[in-house]
Amino acid sequence: MDVSQYLEIFIDESNEHLQNLNTQILNLETEPENMDTINEIFRAAHSLKGMAGTMGYKRMQNLTHDMENVFSEVRNGHIKVAPGMIDILFQCLDALDEYVTNIKDSADEGTNDNESLIKQLNAILENKGEIPEQTSEEPKSSAKTAPANDENGDKKWLNIVLDSSQVNVIQAAFDMKKNVYGITVVVQDTCILKAARAFLVFKAVEEKGEVVVSNPPAKDIEDEKFDKDFSLIVISDKSLDEVIKAAAYVSEIASVTGDVIDLSKMKKPQSTNTKKEETKPAAADKAVNVEPKASAKPADKKSSNSGSKPVVNRTVRVDIEKLDVLMNLVSELIIAKNSLVSTTSQEQSQDDAFNEQIEYLESVTTNLHESVMKVRMVPIESVVSKFPRMIRDLSKKLDKKMELYMTGEDTELDRTVVDEIGDPLMHLLRNSADHGLESAELRAERGKPEIGSIFLDAYQDGNNVVIEVRDDGNGIDVDKVRNKAIERGTITQEQAANMTDKEIIDLLFLPSFSTAKAVTDVSGRGVGLDVVRSKIESLSGEVEVRSKLGEGSTWTIRLPLTLAIIQALMIEVGHEKYAISLGSIQTIEDIMVEDIKLVQNKEVIHLRGNVIPLVRLSNVLDVESTKANEESMVVVIVKKGDKQAGLVIDELLGQQEIVIKSLGKYMKQSKIISGATILGDGEVALILDTNALM
């Protein structure tokens, strides 16, 4: 079977499951008894195994299989969760992650068998051997989850484990002279929409009778969490043939086998009832009490009964390229709209109806733009959820006690930004863990709690998303940085004396500047903060740091919500039109020429207590200003972090929604231009990168 077309889905879903496992195992570490968590882990491991098996990745399948065995025993209460076990499980996840990465790179899982891990897993299983009676049950539970080892051949319904209430229901059916059948349905290998086929089978069978129980559970079947076959136990007053025919009538079904149930041959429930199993009787009872037709949705009832089980979102996976195309089309639409708006304003059209329609068009395109943007937005959760695990590992490695507190994981950002933001955040967190937090002794000395805290907070602020990484550690030692900078020749003694603390701290962002005394595995290799900054600036964001010695530091990352369409201020300099992103503009001022002062031969203005350097755009852009001889001038005050600058322009043209287009690599040499946009009249205007002007 050619599975290459599913490779992408496989990789995506594997990553999701791995992430889920990471989170859940972390939970398990804090609450080893939480049955929901254990069930969730079991489910994820099981799906992963099934997927790896389907795709033919044997090594991955073996490893997950052994992990699943362990979870299965944990779930049945035969093994207690021990810290050592958690470590091994994490190692397994890393190994799985490696498989997935290999698959992603080469469509091959690689050759690492991870035998030692499998041995360790088996050792966990064997330790359980001290409780003899339960050992015998082990093969059964693995048979239940691994149909391949099935001793019952086609009649897989014989593997269904009935609990007491289900037995009662079946018994009652017998008493009422109804027939009870076991049916196993096998879907064709080539079937793509397995879940849909299964649903049709369910529906067909339910027309003939009543489904008491299915293996795997209906919910899993609905989520396509089964391999090629599933089994049902049906109560019906129709003949067996009729029921089988109904099921086989559904297309893409390979075979349907069935027989009358003999209760004595069915498996009885296991002695330990997990929470999941406890919920089943309730669902079954309900199914019995209602009319056969109304029982058409046993799955829904079961899922609502299972309490805290996370509800699976109804989603469609869409190729990001398709969204890009959609976004481009919306951009075109906005350009067309802008051109309509500009023609009407030029012609001073008095036609009210026409203007109304234009306004309507404007609001529709704006909404459309927002919706498309929202589609591209994903919660940063997908990135940050791996951090707790990372901090846990760091904590062990660095032998410092620390805890990560995260808020705002549901904050959404453009997909392209989210994909890129992971590494910089990881750098900052590692920094906080390694350099930020002090050793336990020092913390005790300073009267801080023994466990260091690292915070990761994300929130939306206007058109920006702010992500803060904060720690209650040592903070940045400005003197140390200053000495280091002088030592390295980055700055001279004199310069150092004139620099503010903030400017000194900013030196940290320079390439190859690391204050860690010793190069550790975690950080201090001289790459880091400069990479963080360049990465974030490439996403049109900014990063700054506030720090107080002895109390901790806060790193603030500010990112634009979207990269493609922005609100901009259109200006004119020497008959040329330029756009400045509204996000970076603070105010617009009228300044008299006589108010300009000179500081170190540079023009500055004094504005509400701030000294702001002036940048004459006409000089920067090599054009002749049209307003060179006038007494007052228009100055746009822009900011970058705490820095401000005043851009001297000729004329303000107004605010406009613009679509950012790349200039292409020929024009990349121009650092002060970050892109271009097409105006309503078809003319191209350039977008000024105000950050580069400071």
Binding site: K665, I673, E683, V684, L686
Partner: protein, 154 residues
């Protein structure tokens, strides 16, 4: 006889003949996306002088360069005949070049093209990969991959 004819047809290339000053140049037609009348070019500050700026081509922002400045010829003088030729180059993407005039399309077979050797004294010869003879006229065949390549190192 028939065979020979087929061979000949396979060996021909179509060129668009453009004029720069007094000289005629040929551009392989396979690179050409479209030919536009001269239009307003938005200047991009702080780039090499032969990069004249950008234009809006059906919603895309396309860079435009002056091949005259590139070849150290005098600055373009805009006339009614001035055109922008949009080229699609595999390696360098879409780019516009300004030419004095677009004249005609000619079909040249391999035997009508003479390879030229590199002459370090002649600036414009950097960009030429052959000379075509057509109706007693000489057409220098531009190789845009050479034109672009050199640009990167400038």
């Amino acid at each position: 006889m028939d065979e020979l004819k087929v061979l000949n047809e396979l060996d021909t290339t179509q060129y668009i003949v453009i004029r720069l000053g007094d000289e005629q140049y040929g551009v392989d037609i396979k690179y050409i996306d479209s030919i536009l009348r001269m239009q307003r070019i938005t200047r991009v500050p702080k780039v090499a002088p032969h990069l004249k700026g950008v234009i809006n081509l059906r919603g895309e922002v396309i860079p435009v360069m002056s091949i005259r400045l590139k070849m150290n010829l005098p600055e373009d003088v805009e006339t009614r005949a001035t055109r922008i030729i949009i080229l699609k180059l595999e390696q360098y993407g879409t780019i516009g070049i300004i030419v004095d005039e677009v004249q005609e399309v000619v079909t040249l077979s391999q035997d009508m093209i003479e390879k030229v050797s590199y002459d370090p004294k002649d600036d414009s010869a950097h960009y030429i990969n052959g000379v075509g003879k057509y109706n007693d006229e000489l057409i220098s065949l531009l190789d845009f991959n050479l034109v672009m390549q050199e640009k990167e190192t400038v």
